[in-house]
């Protein structure tokens, strides 16, 4: 699309209008967007077209539209993080990601639906209703960034931004047949990302191809003085890697513990097939072991709730957002209690209470303290495995997309969805999911996960590009061209 704009075949305004029309026609079914900024997007597109007409040198993605996860602040645009407690709030500032998008002249179409405060794996926890998977509208689009991935799969946007705390970019990408990348922790600024679990949260690119993801990655990444945990080092050369796709001589480690039992048979079939294609492309496939990964899920559900119980204390009804019960004579404490009762959804309350417990005196060592030790062990597992291989791989999720409502009353079953994605966040390294085909038994997309050492993000793009090219040759057309539901629209 960028090339078409650059060559003058189409304009950014035409492209933006076409996507706004598409949103108009399919989003009543998909519900990927919480807010569509038609006016702002068209104005931004017109400005890019004017710059181009004036002969200005523009970035590679200039004029291409994008869908922004509603956890990122954008000045003057409603930002809710999927929660009632922020309904109607218009941030007075841009997140650094948005600043970078605007700097690259990427057109922001609107804000996408998500699990409340990014807590969930299905987008069912949004206070504004679930998003539907474009492959089958009765199924979940993954979460927490289900709106962003569904917008891509439904051709409502060619690019999107997600955030990944335990898999919220990669799992939605897997179940919608799209590409999602969680960069190395600190690779993309968290300034203006509404915090869930600060030591795990990481924003990243979502797209329909590996190269598009790489271009978006380079546009948003880089050091930011406003985020003290942002890495002050050159951004990995991910675009070059995505263009090269040369995996000859690379060692790819299959994680023994993230395969086999508990993984759907069609997921395993497509995963094994992808390994063969990578071997054909010249990579060496070996097996690596990560014995402590089995404790990652348990540790995650202590660390993330602990951090969220602290982070979400800022929603106190005093400076912004919802305020309930502010009647004459009411105390600040009762207003806080009532506001947080009404403003937070069930999953958010569950995690705040769990985190409050895990951090409370007498239980701290047994829960939060032990979870932090598991985090060390997982990092050590990665370090040992990366001595033997360049990247590690696994299926992104144990299953394909499940039905909306199927797991909403069983928190543990829901949490198990993230079993293969969580270790990456615990160690702060990079992870990518790209489509590996459709599971034969249900015809739904399967995701292939690639994990690379910290600040070696380019390795994921090398392997991703190689696999994507091999699969495209095999299929003869992109996977998304097979998505049945919205084909007629």
């Amino acid at each position: 699309m960028a090339a078409q704009i650059a060559s003058g075949q189409t304009s950014s305004v035409e492209l933006t209008q076409a996507h706004l029309d598409r949103i108009e026609s399919v989003d009543t079914d998909v519900h990927a967007f919480l807010f569509v900024d038609s006016q702002g997007a068209l104005a931004q597109a017109a400005a890019v077209d004017a710059k181009r007409a004036a002969g200005e040198k523009l970035s590679p993605l200039a004029g291409v539209p994008l869908a922004l996860k509603d956890v990122m602040t954008q000045k003057g645009i409603p930002t809710t993080a999927g929660s009632k407690i922020l309904e109607g709030w218009r941030p007075p500032y841009d997140s650094t990601v948005v600043v970078n998008l605007k700097k690259n002249d990427i057109v922001i179409l609107g804000k996408t639906n998500m699990d409340e405060f990014a807590m969930g794996s299905s987008t069912e926890n949004s206070a504004y209703g679930p998003t539907h998977n474009p492959w089958d509208l009765t199924r979940i689009p993954g979460g927490s960034g289900g709106g962003s991935s569904a917008a891509l799969a439904a051709f409502e946007a060619p690019l999107a931004i997600g955030t990944d705390t335990g898999g919220s970019i990669r799992q939605p990408a897997a179940v919608t047949g799209t590409v999602g990348v969680k960069p190395t922790y600190g690779g993309v600024s968290r300034f203006g990302l509404i915090a869930f679990s600060s030591s795990l949260d990481q924003a990243g690119p979502c797209a329909r191809t590996v190269l598009d993801a790489a271009l978006l990655h380079e546009a948003i990444a880089g050091h930011d003085p406003k985020d003290s945990t942002s890495i002050n080092a050159p951004v990995p050369q991910v675009v070059n890697a995505a263009k090269s796709g040369d995996v000859k001589g690379m060692k790819i480690g299959v994680v023994k513990e993230l395969n086999g039992e508990g993984y759907q048979s069609g997921v395993r079939t497509r995963f094994d097939e992808s390994l063969e294609l990578l071997a054909d492309a010249g990579a060496e496939i070996i097996e690596v072991s990560a014995p402590n990964f089995e404790y990652a899920l348990a540790a995650y559900y202590l660390i993330a709730p602990s951090e969220c119980s602290s982070n979400l204390a800022r929603f106190d009804a005093m400076r912004y957002g919802l305020r309930v019960g502010d009647v004459d004579g009411a105390s600040a404490e009762s207003v806080m209690n009532l506001t947080r009762e009404v403003g937070f959804g069930r999953e958010v309350k569950r995690r705040i209470i769990l985190g409050t417990y895990a951090l409370s005196s007498g239980y701290y060592d047994a829960y939060y303290g032990s979870a932090q030790k598991v985090r060390t062990l997982i990092t050590q597992d990665f370090n040992k495995a990366f001595e033997k291989c360049d990247v590690m791989v696994s299926p992104t999720c144990p299953t394909t997309a499940f039905k909306i409502g199927e797991k909403s009353n069983d928190p543990i079953a829901m949490y198990l969805n993230d079993i293969a994605t969580i270790p990456v966040n615990m160690a702060g390294i990079g992870g990518m999911s790209l489509p590996a085909g459709l599971a034969p038994e249900d015809g739904l997309p399967v995701g292939f996960q690639i994990m690379a050492p910290a600040m070696q993000d380019q390795r994921m793009y090398l392997v991703g590009a190689a696999l994507e090219a091999a699969l495209l040759t095999k299929w003869g057309a992109p996977l998304l061209s097979l998505a049945p539901v919205l084909a007629g629209k």
Partner: protein, 98 residues
């Protein structure tokens, strides 16, 4: 087996400043029995010889140059306030009467 009683959950909800109905307290306390059992597994491998990790980056004291930069105006900062008075946030009563 770990568990939390209805009263334990009520106490945690008070600490977390969330009002909760009786039904919610009871259902959360039963869910916590299952969740705590699942997460308690971390204790199996967390030996005394393992150093805890609180953060993926080994950063200490990150500073920026001590230079004045633009910040939000008071109008911008107050733009999302539930209530305001004389260019300040208006909040409910914080201290008791006496």
């Amino acid at each position: 087996m770990s568990s939390l009683s209805r009263d334990d959950v009520a106490n945690l909800a008070r600490l977390a400043r969330i009002e909760m109905s009786e039904a919610e307290l009871v259902s959360l306390s039963s869910e916590f029995t299952v969740i705590l059992d699942a997460v308690a597994r971390v204790q199996e491998v967390a030996g005394a010889d393992v150093e805890p990790t609180s953060h993926p980056l080994p950063l200490r004291n990150v500073f920026r140059p001590d230079v004045v930069v633009a910040s939000l105006t008071s109008g911008e900062a107050l733009s999302g306030a539930p209530a305001q008075e004389e260019s300040r946030f208006r909040v409910p009563q914080i201290l008791g009467e006496e």
